[in-house]
Amino acid sequence: MELAIFYAFAALVIGSALLVVSLKNTARSLFLFFIVLFGMAGLFIFALADFVAITQIMVYVGGVLILMIFAFMLSNKELLADLQNTSSKFLSIPNWQSLLLSIGFLAVMSYGIIEWHDNFPQWITENIRQGNIIKSSDNNINQLGIKFMTQYLLPFEVISIFLLAALIGAAHLSRKEDPK
C-alpha cells in the first residue's frame, strides 16, 4: 500500500515535471510546477521529514511559486512570445549550457546507481541494532530546534545574515530616489 502510494507520487512528480518543461503554454506550466512541488512534499513525508515537507509547501508554493506567477502575469507579452518561440532544434547554441548541466546530472545519477548495493553501510546497521532510529510517530520538531541552536548554529546564522542582506537589497531597489 505504502509502496504503491510512493510510486504514485514519484510518477506524478516526474510526469508533471516533464510536462512543465515541454508545455508551450507558460501559464499552464507554471501551475503544473505547483503539482511538482506538492508531489515532492509528499515524497519528503515518506522520508519521515514532515517538517521539511510542510516547509516546502509553505516557502515554495506559498511564496516562490506565487511570485513566479505574479512576475509572469505582470511581464510584457512580446517578451513572453519571444520566450515561447525559441528554436526547437536539439543542439542549438542557447542550449549548450542546459546540455552540459543535464550530462552532469546524468553522470552523478549513474555514478549513484553503479555504487548502490543492497546492504546498509556499517554505521546504519549499528544504529538500527541500538534502536537509534526515528519512528513515524516521533516528534522531531524539538530535535530540529535543538540542533539548529547547537550543532548547526553557524550555518543558521549565516543564512539569516544572507536573508537580511536580500531584504535590505529589495528595500533599496524599490525605494524612491531623492528628487534633488
Partner: protein, 357 residues
C-alpha cells in the same frame, strides 16, 4: 479496516457540516445585514425566509456550466476545486473535542498555515483562467493582500506557540483547561489547573496574547478576503473580482470555500487562543461547573458555540465598517500589525525566560 472506514467517514461528515454551515451562515449574513441596515432581509421563502438559501443552492445546482470562449478551460475548471480543497484540508488537523481530532500530528499548526497558502494559487488560477481584466485585477489584489497578511497571522501564532511550546493542536487544546498535563497560570501568577474555565485559556496565560489575538483576528479577516478587506472582490470597482465569470456549481464551490475559510480561521483562533473545547465556566468552590461541562459532547458544543460567535463577529464587522483603500490596507499591515506582532513575539520570549522559566 475500521480505521479506514473512520478515515472515510470523517471527511464526509466534515464536508456535510461545512455545507450545512454555509447554508445557515449565508442566511445569518443576510439577516444580520438586514438588521444593521434597518430592513428585514429575506422574508418570502419559508417562515422568516428560512428556506431562502436552500432555494438559492437549488438554483445554483440546476445551472449549466458556462465557460467563456476565450478562457483557459482547464485552469478555469480546476480553480474552484483547488480553492475548496485547500481550505477543506485545513480541517484535517483541528480538534473538535478531547482527542476528537481527524488527524493528530505534531506539525498541525504549521500544516494549516502551509495548506491555507495554497488557496492563493487557486485564486490566481481562477483570475488567469477566466481571461477577464476584472478577474485578473481581482486575483492580483487578492494575492497581494493574502501574502502581506500571512505575516501578521504567522507572527501572532508564533507568539502563542512560544508560550504553548508545541505545534500539535491537540496538545495546545488540552493544555488550556482541567485536563492539562502541565501547570497553567492565569497571567503568570495564579495556578489554575484545578479551577479551569476561562482562566486557563491561552489568551489569559500572558497579557500580550490578547494583543496577539486581536492581530490574528484582524489579519484573518483579510486572509478570508472579507470586508473591510474585500478590495479583491470590490463589487463597485471589479464586479466580482476573481469569481466574475463563474456560475452554477463552480460558483457554489467558491462560495463554500469562502465560508469554510471563515469558519476555519474562527476555529483556529478558538483552538490557539480561546481555550479550544474547554468550558468557559470555572470551578467555584463546591460548584464544579468546569468539571460538569468538560467531555466529548460538551467539547464539540463549546467549540461550535465559540467558533460560531467569532463568525458572527466577522459578519457584524463586515456590515459595519467601510472598505479599506489599497494603500490604507498595506499601511495597516506593514506599519501597524507586523511591528506589533514582532513586539508580541519578543515579549513571548521574555515571558518564557523571566516568568514561566
Amino acid at each position: 479496516m475500521d480505521s479506514l472506514i473512520l478515515n472515510i467517514l470523517t471527511p464526509v461528515a466534515i464536508f456535510l457540516f461545512i455545507a450545512l454551515f454555509t447554508l445557515f451562515a449565508v442566511y445569518a449574513e443576510r439577516k444580520i445585514a438586514g438588521f444593521v441596515q434597518d430592513r428585514l432581509g429575506p422574508m418570502e421563502t419559508g417562515k422568516y425566509g428560512l428556506l431562502q438559501t436552500f432555494a438559492d443552492i437549488l438554483k445554483l445546482l440546476q445551472k449549466e456550466f458556462i465557460s467563456p470562449s476565450a478562457s483557459d478551460k482547464i485552469l478555469f475548471a480546476l480553480a474552484p476545486i483547488l480553492i475548496f480543497v485547500a481550505v477543506f484540508v485545513g480541517y484535517s488537523v483541528i480538534p473538535w473535542g478531547p482527542n476528537l481530532i481527524p488527524s493528530n500530528t505534531h506539525t498541525g499548526l504549521f500544516f494549516i498555515m502551509a495548506v491555507v497558502s495554497i488557496d492563493a494559487i487557486g485564486i490566481l488560477m481562477a483570475g488567469w483562467g477566466s481571461n477577464n481584466k476584472y478577474s485578473l485585477l481581482g486575483s492580483i489584489r487578492a494575492i497581494a493582500q493574502m501574502i502581506s497578511y500571512e505575516l501578521p497571522v504567522g507572527l501572532s501564532l508564533i507568539a502563542a506557540v512560544m508560550i504553548t511550546q508545541t505545534l500539535n493542536l491537540n496538545e495546545i487544546a488540552f493544555n488550556q483547561g482541567l485536563l492539562s498535563s502541565k501547570e497553567i497560570y492565569f497571567l503568570g501568577f495564579w495556578k489554575v489547573n484545578e479551577i479551569g474555565g476561562i482562566f486557563g485559556w491561552n489568551i489569559f496565560q500572558a497579557p500580550h496574547l490578547m494583543v496577539s489575538y486581536a492581530i490574528f483576528f484582524i489579519a484573518s479577516l483579510a486572509e478570508c478576503n472579507r470586508a473591510p478587506f474585500d478590495i479583491p472582490e470590490a463589487e463597485s470597482e471589479l464586479i466580482g473580482g476573481f469569481h466574475t465569470e463563474y456560475g452554477g456549481i463552480r460558483f457554489a464551490f467558491l462560495f463554500l470555500a469562502e465560508y469554510a475559510m471563515m469558519f476555519l480561521v474562527a476555529m483556529l483562533g478558538v483552538v490557539i487562543f480561546l481555550g479550544a473545547w474547554n468550558s468557559p465556566l470555572p470551578n467555584i468552590g463546591p460548584a464544579k461547573l468546569a468539571d460538569w461541562t468538560t467531555g466529548p459532547v460538551w467539547g464539540v458544543f463549546w467549540t461550535l458555540i465559540k467558533s460560531l460567535f467569532i463568525v458572527a463577529v466577522q459578519i457584524w464587522i463586515r456590515w459595519t465598517l467601510p472598505r479599506f483603500r489599497a494603500d490604507q490596507l498595506m499601511t495597516l499591515c506593514w506599519k501597524i500589525l507586523i511591528p506589533l506582532a514582532f513586539v508580541c513575539m519578543a515579549i513571548s520570549g521574555l515571558w518564557r525566560i523571566l516568568i514561566m522559566i
